[in-house]
């Protein structure tokens, strides 16, 4: 009986691919070890909702965000791409924690700003180009059913370029982006998740198998 219990508990501590030591993650992020253990509870829930392999697949991510695993949404795709730092099509636990840490209320604004810039830089050229901006506005409009005409979209994009592209080279670079953020910090509001300060309360079952030494 004892042998069985031992084997069982050994099995329990075996972690899936992509798992990282909470101690290491805590040293690199604003989270404590306990908070990372709590986030692991959330991760387990998200990463086993469709495919039980301890990795968050795109469908699982969409399911969590929209309660719909086949939702088409450009921005959710971009967030997933940004979280998937290794670009192997899945989000591992370490990637999940490091990416979420940027959304922590204590994370400096410049990190949030830079994350958002990369997210909007759809082609990864280091610039937000006019056609990318137009594509994003279009995506948002189809999502929200605003019913704006092609001309109005063009007008919004044009007005934004005039205001933000201060060196008039037809694209928004990171410096121009930072100036815009400084003028209008509310465009970063999605980059802060107050929930991250209360993950130990939201996912309290970590207390039962915490591996923090006394």
């Amino acid at each position: 009986m004892l042998a069985f219990v031992k084997r069982f508990s050994l099995k329990r501590t075996k972690h899936p691919r992509g798992y990282e030591d909470p101690q290491v993650l805590a040293s690199e992020t604003p989270f404590t070890v306990n908070e990372i253990e709590a986030l692991h509870n959330l991760f387990k829930k998200l990463s086993t909702s469709i495919i039980n392999d301890g990795l968050i697949h795109k469908e699982e991510f969409l399911l969590a965000l929209f309660r719909n695993s086949s939702m088409q949404n450009l921005f959710a795709d971009r967030v997933f791409y940004m979280f998937d730092r290794k670009r192997n099509g899945v989000i591992e636990f370490g990637e999940f924690v490091r990416s979420l840490s940027i959304f922590h209320p204590h994370t400096p604004e410049h990190e949030k700003s830079s994350f958002m810039f990369k997210l909007y830089d759809l082609d990864g050229t280091g610039f937000i180009q006019r056609h990318e901006l137009k594509k994003m506005v279009g995506a948002l409009l189809s999502e929200t059913d605003l019913g704006l005409s092609e001309e109005s979209i063009e007008a919004i994009v044009e007005q934004t370029m005039v205001e933000v592209d201060t060196n008039k080279d037809g694209k928004i670079d990171e410096e121009e982006w930072k100036e815009l953020v400084a003028k209008n910090p509310s465009i970063l509001k999605n980059m802060t998740l107050p929930y991250l300060k209360e993950v130990t309360l939201a996912f309290p079952s970590f207390v039962l198998d915490s591996e923090v030494d006394d």
Binding site: A76, D77, G147, I156, Q159, V212
Partner: protein, 423 residues
């Protein structure tokens, strides 16, 4: 005031918990846990930390109860008369619940010193207790162990109800009735003692009645070391009122100490009595005054990025939420000013307290408050003739479904199109 009392033994250095809290003296202890004073190293705030020994909880199968307690306390964090939980920590052998410190100690040590309380003081504590319990019932949590040790006071002398450890949440209800016998006999409803299935809210009402009696009289209404004989006294309503207890107070206690939970006065009903409402100031009745949001200076006009940031794909809060979000967005048929007017009119029709909240820039914001529910309606003119309106519950989100859907229905007139329903 903010300094941690020095430990008696100066040779032992202060113990630091997980690098975050400096542990102070013991405030109390129970069979599974002890409570210590502590100070946050980061903020210097004084807190109370409940330390639970895991070995003992596993032995006695207490684990689900602890998780339940944490969950209950988290749901009830928004009420001024419920002790707040700040965070939870754990090591291999211990669980730490970091909680608000009630510096005033137990209400009943005050009662012990004073004997009994004048009616107006008793009423004030009773009002706060009833308000806290009503709130917890609305959130699907019954306390089930309302007793003197769980009624604490803060610095200003306000009541803080603590220890929702025995509380049961709706998902643990079987046949709609609770079956675990728990509670402390002198304050426990008879249906709990007799181990019949019971309604937690009605059981809490019983305990409230006992508490009110004790506050006014100075001792418990039913007292007998023999449970069977106490139970008999309860059934026969065998207790006496001293001459100084007013008639309306007697009537309330009599109705709350009804051995039959079916006919017993509910907490809801008590709060509607004239005696209860007496000297209740507006601020206590409606303690959730809408705080104006910080004014955000917008020196730049609205750009495409403001528009893009409305995408539900960029809002990751859904990852953390199990419950439904009370938040909807729509494009309005009318101007932002007209949206504002409409929101105010609807608020008045549906009985909300209407507040116009100032905010920089073009946004028109209306705050609506009713009971503990607070809703914010914000209209922004994104482009010429494009007004996007966001309606969201900022407080009390688990309450009254109908309240929310009524409001959404009323707004229908000015909606051009609802945005993608992500739910």
């Amino acid at each position: 005031m903010d300094s941690l009392p020095q430990p008696q033994n100066h040779s032992s250095p202060a113990k630091i918990l997980l690098g975050k809290y400096e542990l102070g003296r013991r405030l109390g202890s129970g069979s599974f846990a002890k409570v210590h004073l502590a100070r946050s190293i980061e903020t210097h705030e004084l807190v109370a930390i409940k330390i639970i020994d895991k070995k003992r909880t596993i032995e006695s199968n207490m684990e689900p109860r602890i998780i339940r307690e944490i969950d209950a306390m988290r749901r009830l964090r928004d009420h001024p008369n419920i002790l707040k939980i700040h965070e939870v920590m754990a090591t291999k052998s211990k669980i730490y619940l970091v909680m608000e410190l009630a510096v005033g100690g137990e209400l009943f040590s005050k009662l012990l010193r004073r004997g009994r309380l004048p009616e107006s003081a008793a009423r004030r504590y009773f009002q706060q207790l009833a308000s806290a319990l009503q709130f917890s019932h609305l959130h699907g949590v019954a306390h089930r162990d309302v007793k003197p040790q769980n009624l604490l006071l803060d610095r200003e002398g306000n009541l803080k109800v603590s220890d929702f450890g025995l509380s049961a949440l709706p998902e643990h209800l079987r046949d709609g009735l609770l079956h675990t016998a728990c509670g402390t006999p002198a304050y426990t409803a008879p249906e709990i003692i007799s181990r019949r299935g019971y309604d937690g809210a009605k059981a809490d009402a019983w305990s409230c009645g006992v508490i009110l009696y004790v506050l006014l009289v100075g001792y418990v209404p039913f007292d007998d070391s023999n449970i069977a004989s106490m139970y008999r006294k309860i059934q026969r309503r065998e207790y006496r009122f001293p001459s100084w207890i007013s008639k309306p107070a007697r009537s309330i206690i009599h109705q709350m100490l009804d051995p039959n939970p079916e006919t017993r006065m509910s907490i809801e009903a008590v709060t509607n009595t004239t005696w209860f409402k007496k000297s209740l100031t507006g601020s206590e009745l409606d303690c959730n005054v809408l705080e104006p949001e910080p004014v955000i200076e917008k020196s730049s006009s609205i750009t495409a990025f403001d528009l893009i940031s409305l995408s539900s794909g960029l809002d990751l809060s859904g990852l953390f939420e199990v419950k439904r979000k009370r938040e909807r967005r729509f494009t309005a048929k009318v101007s932002a000013v007209e949206v504002e007017e409409k929101a105010k009119a609807i608020g008045e029709t549906l009985g909300y307290v209407v507040k116009k909240t100032k905010k920089g820039g073009e946004a028109k914001v209306v705050g609506l408050g009713r009971g503990r529910m607070e809703i914010v309606v914000e209209a922004v003119e994104l482009a010429v003739d494009v007004v996007v309106v966001e309606v969201k519950v900022v407080q009390g989100e688990e309450e009254e479904d109908s309240q929310w859907s009524d409001l959404i229905t009323e707004l229908g007139d000015i909606v051009l199109s609802w945005h993608n329903d992500v739910m």
